[in-house]
């Protein structure tokens, strides 16, 4: 990869910081690293506006932070076993929410963009969501050939869940799809697959 290159479409993430100008807050976090990000957020302060924390524990694969988190945010915490369940609750919340709701998300890229797409359905632009990438650098990959999105790409080359092609994981990101572009790696030289390395741990 060349040095000093930057791709415009690639999202830039920050760390969660409370937005002072608000009507209400909702914080969505995933896994133990997300739980920790929520704990750090409450170390900054306890906001005066109505606040909800949606915590997807993902307990099978991750260390569970339910107990410390419920000590820090006793009244605002909702816990879920999986991210899918927390997204259902998020949508229910959005459908009755008012303008001025600030949205915070900490988790994998897949989770961040699932949240962004949900907010988009309710007219909120992803640039107005405070996003922190934690836990894993695994990328969601959109296969430009069969249009399937495969999740959890940890390597530079990954087999498409849809068509089985070996995809080269690019840095080009689509906000609409919430995924990086994946291009068949051996299109010109079938069978010639460069070495596969983990670069998104």
């Amino acid at each position: 990869m060349e040095r000093g290159y930057w791709i415009r479409s690639k999202p830039v993430y920050s760390t969660l910081v409370w937005q002072q100008q608000a009507n209400a807050h909702i914080v969505l976090v995933e896994g133990s690293a997300g739980g920790l990000a929520a704990m750090k957020l409450f170390q900054q302060m306890h906001p005066e506006h109505p606040t909800k924390v949606l915590y997807a524990r993902n307990p099978v694969v991750q260390q569970d932070l339910s107990i410390p988190l419920s000590k820090v945010v006793p009244d605002a915490l909702l816990m879920f076993e999986t991210t899918e369940e927390s997204l259902v609750a998020f949508e229910a919340h959005l459908s009755s929410a008012c303008m001025g709701l600030r949205i915070y998300v900490a988790g994998s890229e897949r989770f961040i963009w699932q949240v962004a797409q949900m907010a988009d359905k309710y007219g909120i632009d992803d640039s107005d969501i405070i996003k922190e990438l934690v836990g894993t650098l695994a990328r969601p990959i959109y296969c430009v050939h069969c249009k399937t999105i495969s999740y959890e790409a940890h390597t530079n080359i990954k087999k498409c869940d849809g068509c089985g092609k070996q995809l080269f994981v690019r840095d080009h990101f689509s906000r609409r799809l919430g995924a990086y572009m994946g291009l068949m790696v051996d299109a010109e030289d079938p069978g010639q697959i460069p070495s596969i390395e983990e670069i998104y741990p």
Partner: protein, 317 residues
């Protein structure tokens, strides 16, 4: 800016201070369609001096056979509104620019919240047509001083049904911005047009409640304020123009026969921006287009409303 000639086909007294003017094209051709919130600039030759004032187009934007503008007679008119009110008759000829929209509805909005104060109702008159036609979700909140100032209220009540609320100040009613803005569903966009104090209060209230910047839309054309006279040196044309106290810099440049870009002529759109080469005084920025940092840097000026307190100013034109 390209313009075309129109003839005044109808004049209606809407309130004691507001007149509505209707235009048709002089050559009989059809008028260009426009989108809700658009304005045109009307050129008027007043005692040998060219005045150009922006006015919002009202009525149906789809296939207009007539353009309508509403003009409030300003107390301290620089001539434009007084000229239209007193001199222009049915049959008078005027020149207008093609419509331009600086106050468009955002298509992504799930709900449109329109807030008007006084004559600020005019851009909403065409937006409402678009909203009704597209069956969009909207609400109109319209405040004015007294029944004497109730422009278009009955038309609007008919069109908007239960979607309009009026606030008559003389009856002790005013818009509670905080209450209004804190209970809007997610995905709402707010649009405000009216007196400066109202526009500023709305923007600040929305921000303080956490509304994202791109959900807040405002329109306010300033009238060019008068000031002290000064000289402008046009570097490229290599001429010097005198800017009298009661003329804007843009008007003075135009009067000298130099074409300068413009669109809103009210300090809102950014189209007229000129580069300042140097000055022996200070710039007096009056626009609401340039950022505070730009204003402080003193390298740019919007000649439609801004001036300089100086002896001479050199610009790159």
């Amino acid at each position: 800016m390209s313009t075309f000639k129109v003839v005044v086909s109808n004049i209606q007294q809407i309130t004691p201070l507001i007149k509505q003017f209707s235009f048709i094209r002089e050559d009989g051709a059809s008028l260009p369609p426009f989108s809700g919130g658009s304005h045109v600039v009307v050129a008027m030759n007043i005692n040998g001096r060219l005045h150009r004032n922006p006015y919002s187009l009202m009525g149906s934007p789809q296939a207009p056979d007539t353009y309508h503008i509403a003009v409030r007679l300003q107390e301290h008119s620089r001539g434009g509104s007084a000229y239209l009110h007193h001199e222009v008759k049915v049959g008078s000829q005027l020149e207008i620019t093609y419509p331009n929209n600086l106050f468009a509805l955002d298509k992504r909005a799930r709900k449109h919240l329109l807030v008007a104060g006084g004559i600020g109702i005019t851009p909403f008159m065409s937006q409402i047509e678009d909203l009704i036609r597209t069956k969009a979700n909207y609400e109109l909140h319209y405040a004015y001083r007294s029944q004497d100032h109730a422009a278009f209220t009955s038309t609007l009540k008919e069109k908007c049904d239960e979607r309009i609320r009026v606030y008559v100040e003389s009856e002790g009613l005013s818009i509670d911005l905080k209450a209004l803005l804190s209970k809007q569903p997610l995905g709402t966009h707010v649009y405000v047009c009216g007196p400066n104090a109202m526009v500023v209060a709305l923007i600040e209230t929305a921000r303080s409640l956490g509304w994202p910047e791109n959900h807040i839309h405002s329109e306010q054309f300033l009238a060019p304020p008068s000031g002290e006279p000064f000289k402008v040196k046009l570097a490229k044309s290599n001429i010097e123009v005198h800017v009298p106290a009661e003329m804007s810099m843009l008007e003075a440049i135009e009067a000298a026969g130099v074409d300068a870009p413009y669109s809103c002529r009210g300090g809102a759109c950014g189209r007229c921006e000129l580069e300042v080469i140097r000055t022996d005084g200070v710039l007096v920025h009056q626009d609401h287009y340039l950022s505070e940092a730009d204003k402080a840097a003193g390298k740019k000026i919007m000649p439609c409303v801004s001036r300089a307190k100086c002896h001479s100013l050199e610009i790159n034109l």
